[in-house]
């Protein structure tokens, strides 16, 4: 659910630790399984927060479970139910969720060479290509351990995420008004926790700040769901400014 393709850190998803995996000696399977389960279990449990949030946003238990089963990429799921709760049209809401899911394509690019999956297995494995499985697999030293890490993380996370989604959705229905329990703060807290480790440099902070300003500025003016799409423009905008600056610095350097 987090991380950037070229700089994946294992510590990010859940504070679950994975070994450095950079040792020259072959890594024991038991160690890989332990690391993978650590990530899978810790993050899998947060499906509960999604189940509660989704049901609190007005989705049925069936719809909530369908999202975890079929979408299976946390940030997109939270974004979609948030946009639907705000009254966004289904396509605008789906667009925001989709843009968040695009990063998984870049994980896939890195993984395909490492895992070396046969063509027939790819459509199945693709469903598990998310932040956590990528982080675990990419931290492994060779193909054997990468495949093992990917499979164990994917399996444990998929099973738990869906189970806890169901429990959360049923629990939310039993609770009644989820806002009274403060559960409407779970969604934004998840986003913030996903965002925090990404704010490594000036460019990231600028994009985050501009994104937040754009969404708040557009909120009173544009239909629900659209402000988030406008805020996505903060990313190319910041990159463009950075590119201009870099070019100017190079030119000045050339004059001297």
């Amino acid at each position: 659910m987090r991380g950037v393709p070229e700089q994946i850190e294992i510590r990010t998803g859940s504070e679950a630790r994975s070994g450095p995996g950079s040792g020259a000696e072959p890594k024991a399977s038991a160690a890989v399984v332990r690391d993978a389960l650590g990530v899978g279990v810790a993050v899998g449990l947060s499906g509960f927060a999604f189940g509660v949030t989704s049901a609190g946003a007005g989705l049925s238990v069936l719809q909530t479970c369908a999202l975890s089963l079929l979408v299976f990429t946390g940030a997109s799921q939270f974004a979609l139910v948030g946009a639907l709760a705000a009254g966004g049209n289904p396509f605008t809401a789906a667009a925001g969720a989709f843009f968040l899911g695009v990063r998984n394509a870049f994980y896939g690019l890195r993984l395909s060479g490492l895992l070396g999956l046969p063509r027939s297995v790819r459509p199945l494995a693709a469903h598990w290509v998310i932040d956590e499985t990528s982080a675990v697999a990419l931290a492994q030293p060779d193909r054997r351990t990468a495949r093992l890490g990917f499979t164990v993380t994917g399996l444990s996370l998929y099973a738990l995420w869906n189970l806890t989604t169901l429990v959360g959705a049923l629990g939310a229905s039993a609770l009644g008004d989820t806002a009274a329990w403060g559960l409407d703060a779970a969604g934004p807290a998840v986003f913030l926790a996903l965002l925090a480790p990404m704010l490594r440099g000036t460019v990231e902070r600028a994009a985050a700040g501009l994104g937040a300003l754009l969404v708040l500025g557009c909120l009173p003016l544009l239909p629900a769901g659209v402000p988030v799409l406008v805020a996505a423009l903060a990313a190319p905008a910041v990159l463009a400014v950075q590119g201009l600056r870099a070019r100017r610095t190079t030119e000045e350097g050339g004059v001297r």
Binding site: A42, L67, G82, S112, A185, E204, A207, P220
Partner: protein, 100 residues
């Protein structure tokens, strides 16, 4: 019905993105500009979603108990609390402020 449409479109889109990454030849999407944009897009989106769901109420901006909850979550993050603890802190503080 529109909820099911949104679920279907999101599921299809997100799955195709995952499959695309595994299937295209390496190098096709590896241009530095594309990679940088793909890395920065979630940053802008997550910040926007955090802000919207903390201060938004329909089409209005409000300052309510959620802001306190998210402030507490931010402190928990600075203190390197685990993911689930951060979420729990936000929920508990929001409920607490609301109950005052």
């Amino acid at each position: 019905m529109s909820t099911w449409i949104a679920i279907g479109v999101t599921a299809a889109g997100c799955y195709l993105a995952k499959l695309l990454g595994l299937s295209v030849p390496a190098g096709a999407l590896e241009r530095p500009a594309v990679r940088r944009l793909a890395a920065l897009l979630p940053v802008a989106l997550l910040a926007a979603l955090t802000a919207q769901q903390t201060f938004g109420d329909g089409q209005h901006l409000v300052l309510d108990a959620r802001a306190a909850g998210l402030g507490a979550a931010a402190v928990a993050l600075v203190l390197r609390a685990p993911f689930l603890v951060v979420v729990a802190v936000a929920v508990v503080v929001t409920a607490g402020v609301r109950a005052l």
